[in-house]
């Protein structure tokens, strides 16, 4: 193990580095603290190596990437720094930065990003995000000057995520130049990642970068990163190549808000966005509100003159007014009908037939509604009245009338089965029946005419 470590320390060009090229799980957890970016690749590697023994022994990760594991362990076992110090004197540089790294990682402990890496071991509390891998890659990219020599092999080692990140570019980063330098190196190697998460990492990294540009303290940055990571994990397709150079995270914020809310159930440790509650209740609330808004829109179309109205309260008032006005119209018209009726008297039958025939004109051509009139009047009980009447109606030779009668019968049966309100049906029909039976001639005449 020591040998391994020292190899890493001394020359990254050793073939051992190629072991790093672990596609699937080689997500390197990198602190998003800007200060860490300045950490040289040396230090990173050193730390990784330093913790390698511990991590490997305990971790079940199939990958043999000390770098990432080392990083993870870094947060949990700050004592490893000493290890590093002791084991690799050449890696003494990172010691200073390791503390900052530690701080960063400790803060990021709160992240609970699902990921295969998490399963990797006692690092459960550490967010093994693939975005972190990207970060690590980039970090190595950014790692400064002295690292250049080490960077290329290192990047090769961390092929996928690193290169992907590097290729993504990093316009917003302060160390854009460094990135570009490494980009050239990595472009060839980049992107050929069979590592799906690297894509996520790419997107995540971009967003994280923009986040990092914000003047947030470490914890906040970590939280942002975690949120974004989760968002990216969940919404890969949404990884629009936001120009990372976002001064304000507002447009992103909304996105993150939405995704955050939807992710809240899965990731417990997210810090809530401003003004959003972090529980499933708020999600249910949102769903409910969406439903209500949908229906409000439907009602808007129904109620005349409400297209410009916005807001639930005003809309509600309009709806109430409209319903009240409709009910008043019904009352008024019923009064009118009541007033008209005694004058017309018997003529209501003709009204009925006329109206129905007119209506049937529209639907099915001339209908002989009064086909029922041919049948003998039935004065049986109410229940008996309806069905024989309907069946009788079904008999007439007039095909159209027959269809209509059948339909009416079907409707009737349907209604009965549905609501079992045959009495009200009977009440209505009774009048029709009596009318039809008692005015055979009248209806026949009307039917034949039309």
């Amino acid at each position: 193990m020591d040998m391994h470590k020292k190899d890493h320390c001394h020359s990254l060009k050793s073939e051992d580095n190629l072991e790093y090229s672990n596609p699937g799980n080689s997500s390197f957890l990198l602190p998003n603290n800007p200060s860490i970016r300045s950490v040289s690749g040396n230090s990173l590697i050193a730390i990784g190596q330093a913790n390698q023994s511990d991590s490997f022994s305990s971790s079940s990760i199939p990958m043999d990437d000390p770098f990432s594991i080392g990083f993870w362990n870094q947060s949990t076992k700050p004592t490893d720094l000493d290890l590093c110090k002791n084991n690799s004197p050449e890696c003494s540089n990172p010691v200073n930065r390791n503390s900052s790294l530690n701080a960063e990682w400790n803060s990021s402990d709160s992240f609970s990003v699902g990921g295969t890496l998490l399963q990797a071991a006692n690092l459960s509390h550490f967010p093994a995000d693939k975005a972190f891998a990207g970060r690590a890659a980039r970090l190595s990219c950014f790692s400064n000057n002295s690292v250049d020599g080490m960077m290329s092999p290192f990047s090769l080692a961390q092929s996928t995520s690193l290169c992907a990140n590097a290729a993504l570019g990093d316009e917003s980063r302060a160390q854009v130049e460094k990135n570009k330098e490494h980009k050239n190196n990595f472009d060839g190697v980049a992107v050929s990642s069979d590592y799906p998460s690297s894509c996520i990492a790419l997107g995540a990294v971009k967003r994280k970068r923009s986040n990092e540009d914000m003047p947030l303290d470490q914890a906040q940055a970590a939280s942002h990163v975690s949120r974004e990571m989760e968002e990216n994990l969940e919404f890969e397709q949404n990884a629009e190549p936001n120009s990372p150079s976002v001064a304000t995270d507002k447009p992103k914020g909304k996105q993150i808000k939405d995704s955050n809310e939807s992710l809240k159930d899965e990731f417990i440790h997210i810090r809530a966005r401003r003004g959003q509650a972090t529980n499933s209740h708020s999600l249910a609330e949102r769903v409910r509100r969406e439903k209500i808004n949908e229906r409000m829109k439907l009602l808007q179309d129904l109620v005349p003159g409400c297209s410009k109205v916005t807001g639930k309260a005003v809309m509600l008032d309009e709806i109430i007014n409209y319903v009240q006005s409709l009910q008043q119209q019904v009352e008024f018209l019923s009064m009118k009908l009541a007033a008209i009726n005694p004058r017309l008297g018997i003529d209501i039958d003709s009204v009925l037939s006329k109206y129905l025939l007119q209506s049937f004109h529209g639907t099915s051509g001339a209908m002989a509604f009064p086909s029922s009139s041919v049948h003998p009047p039935m004065h049986t009980s109410q229940q008996g009245l309806v069905q024989p009447g309907l069946q009788a109606m079904a008999n007439p030779p007039d095909s159209l009338g027959r269809s209509m009668n059948t339909q009416l019968a079907a409707v009737h049966e349907y209604k009965e089965s549905k609501m079992q309100v045959s009495n009200s049906w009977e009440e209505g029909l009774q009048g029709v029946m009596q009318m039809a039976y008692s005015n055979n001639v009248n209806l026949n005449a009307h039917g034949l005419q039309q």
Partner: protein, 144 residues
């Protein structure tokens, strides 16, 4: 059997019912007061409205339930009763400030806002149809 028009439109059913009821009322209330007749016609209008819906909406069921109870058919009224489990949700969903609407739409007392809006939409549609039906009848009758 000629079933090319296998679906009778809702206004048709409504017209059928309403006109039947109208004629019935006209026949049986020749000696009633104007107000009484008004009331009966209005009842007939709402009943035909509810029947034309086919029992899909809660308001129609509530309307018909009311009619049945008045008609003295307790058994049928019981069948039409809405399941009481809905009452549990009464507390949560009803705080929307739409209680006026709840009073207007029959049978919408125990609903949350989303359902209430659905019922309101259906109710408004049926009301519009009923109003147009009654208007056309008035036109026809007055033109006679």
């Amino acid at each position: 059997m000629d079933l090319e028009h296998s679906s009778i439109s809702k206004p048709m059913i409504m017209a059928f019912h309403f006109l039947g009821a109208l004629s019935h009322i006209q026949k049986t209330t020749t000696h009633s007061t104007f107000v009484c007749r008004c009331h009966r016609i209005r009842c007939a209008a709402y009943t035909s409205m509810a029947l034309s819906t086919g029992g899909h909406s809660a308001w129609s069921r509530a309307l018909l339930r009311g009619k049945l109870r008045r008609g003295g058919l307790r058994k049928r009224a019981v069948i039409l009763q809405r399941p009481r489990k809905r009452a549990v949700r009464l507390e949560e969903g009803c705080q929307d400030g739409a209680d006026v609407l709840r009073r207007l739409v029959p049978g919408s007392a125990g609903m949350d806002s989303a359902e209430l809006l659905d019922e309101t939409a259906d109710y408004i549609r049926c009301l519009e149809e009923q109003v147009s039906l009654m208007r056309s009848i008035v036109n026809v009758v007055s033109s006679l």
